[in-house]
Amino acid sequence: MLILTVNGKEHRVEVAPDTPLLWVLREQLRLTGTKYGCGQGLCGACTVQIDGRAERSCQIAAKDAAGKQIVTIEGLAADHPLKTAWIAEEVPQCGWCQPGQIMQAADLLSRNKKPTDADIDGAMSGNLCRCGTYPRIRRAIRRAAGGEGRTP
């Protein structure tokens, strides 16, 4: 049995300890906002925050996440500037990658309050979107950072 702290709540789960955190979140805890896209840490759809940093939950064994603070898209405040900005900029198309994009962007903004476009591109380049919402992701992050942010 493992004890995981997710979105501020403790959960006891019975899983093989090497099960990736992603599947524990999705299957045991029914937090399906965290998405499976590649299983190899290549697409970012499964991004969550662990102790305040964006991590690929498909690459972390559940046992290694025990005792840490895990935050998923469901745990990000409803009025979080990124969620508001994502809605204002009409970012999502199919929507599958968006929770991961937002969790990655939250990591960026927690360390860099006024990212330039280059900062955004650098921080977000591991999060894939097949629908091509990248131009709007840039705009939404700039908006969440409190402005147009149209710096080079």
Binding site: V15, A16, T32, L42, W96, L128, C131, R136
Partner: protein, 729 residues
Amino acid sequence: MNGPVDLARRGFLKTGASLGAGLVIAFCLPLGGRAARAAEASGANPLPGIEPNAWLRIAPSGQVTILVAKSEMGQGVYTSMPMLIAEELEADWSRIRVEAAPVAPVYNHLIFGMQATGGSTSVATSWEQLRTVGAAARLMLVAAAAQQWQVPVSECLAEQGEVRHPPSGRRLGYGELAPTAENLPVPTPIRLKDPKDFRLIGRPLPRLDTPEKVDGSGRFGLDVTLPRMLTAVVARAPVFGGRVKSVQAEKARATPGVRVVAEVPTGVAVAADDFWTALKGREALAIEWDEGAGALLSSDGLRLRFAELAQQPGAVARRDGTPEEALAGAPRRLEAEYEVPFLAHATMEPLNCVVDLREEACDVWTGTQFQTADRDAAAAAAGLKPEQVRVHTMLLGGGFGRRANPHSDFVREAVQVAKAVKAPVKVVWTREDDMRGGYYRPLWYDRLAAGLDAAGRPVAWTHRIVGQSIMDGTLFASSIKNGIDPTSVEGAADLPYAIPNVMVELHSPKLAVPVQWWRSVGHSHTGFVVESFLDELASAAGEDPFFFRRRLLAGHPRHLGVLELAAKRAGWGEPLPKGQGRGIAVHASFGSFVAQVAEASVATDGRIRVHRVVCAVDCGRVVNPDTVKAQMEGGIVFGLSAALFGAVTLADGRVQQGNFDDYPILRIDETPQIEVHIVESTEKPTGVGEPGVPPIAAAVGNAVFAATGLRLRRLPMTREEVGAAKKTV
């Protein structure tokens, strides 16, 4: 929107089957039978499916639930379809919610004759149908109010979800009127609004599905869970057409948490308590495969075979004038060969399907573009009648054509697994399963020749296309006429340029590789080939590629409209930073016209960088301009992935790619600045989901040519391709 799917959907289906009986709180217009027949008899509404009962429900609170028959895969139908109904209904947009429609004939696609989403046709085919539905419901609500107030209908008006009687100042909400309205006859004829009176259509309304996609609550197929459900993965043959020869399953069965290991027609299924356990169980299998002829396939071999075929005459798709003679007599001749590879759809949500199979019923939850076909396939696999199967359409984590499979591959297989497992089951495809599962955009090989007269005007154009038919062997095979699958030559046989002698021919070799439509279908290949070769002609004629196109498109005002708009907004002809080139392409597909100007450069290591893309689109009347822009942006990014990186290759019958490391798609730091401009139009609305894709590869290739003089005739335009092109200069 996708809340408690199971109960809500089942509840609706029950009442839906009896058309109204039992829908106590719902607004259930009795249009299905009597009124529809009356409408048909009067000839007022010749479109099928004008049954408001099937499309909308009004709760006592006034909330309007619109059932959408089209699948939401990112293209915005969960907003555009409700907009069509709400416009004529005079609904309060803030009180609209959406639900996925069940499978029923009323929801059939008006062209395809089955419930389906594809071909960039949702708005085009729903444009009159759904506005008529909204108008019918509004007329009945107004009639109900007039009856209650004992006033003439002509004194009442509908607005923002209520009916008002201005002379007396009385008003009633739709929620209050619905119970009366549902017992009224449907007035005919139903007149639709003058477009100048539109309140919703034409406005960039926020998408209704955005909030649930931002907070993680939106429910996709992979998010469905049922009580007692097992999760399964399937070990499929390593080559197409392969079959299980023998299997050793003891170790898999001994894996803790694995519940069932069973052979199914596509391979060996391993069902377990959770996904990770199922995967471990699958890894423990030892399977010997009978690989068959599929093991002989290789991309290199196919290219050689296709190149040989391209030397021989094919089935004629178009013949104008005397192309052979004109070509032979032309003072200047050009020849070129173009190639594009197999491509995977690579939707971000890998394929998956949940099945609950019982004695006399079967429920299927999945993201599908092909509800009717999937229901029928599920029924056949389950040994049930189609009406015993219910398909619950979930949000699709991308479709791009993959989830419109004429063979219902992922649904049929899931039912077969459910049969073997004897429990509710979710079949999950890993990314690698999905990438190697076939149904690719075909590999194409094209041979072109053209003749220019002494003044540089093209006098002959011959185009020979070699590649698999996607329609062959499907329920759409009857569209193949005289050896021509129309989707193989679309965008080529309808070459719009004023060239007096034209020939387009086709070879359709049969291969074991499953192929299918992939966003923009045949245009995904012909847009690149035609617009690149035309650029070669412009260059040979010594003319600017924009002016060259403009002259040859004189009789095509909508092509010209987008071409000129894109060129103008891009600043065509203005200087660019050193090393950058500008390329232009224009292509019509799915009824729409798109031109794109790309600015690109090539780094010293051969990597292509696209800096900016300016896009102009004419898709007729626009329902939601922000959706049109989003679809153009998305089409450009999708097309750039194919132009720069995308290739599925075969060696010894095995697909050599498996995940995003060897099948890269465009990343945010590789994404150019994209500007989209929409041509104002009063023409009927046409497609936007696909038409943004076809021109982009050519626009980029033409920009590379402008920047470097290198002509890239093979996709993807990798560093290696750039290097190879340098050697041939």
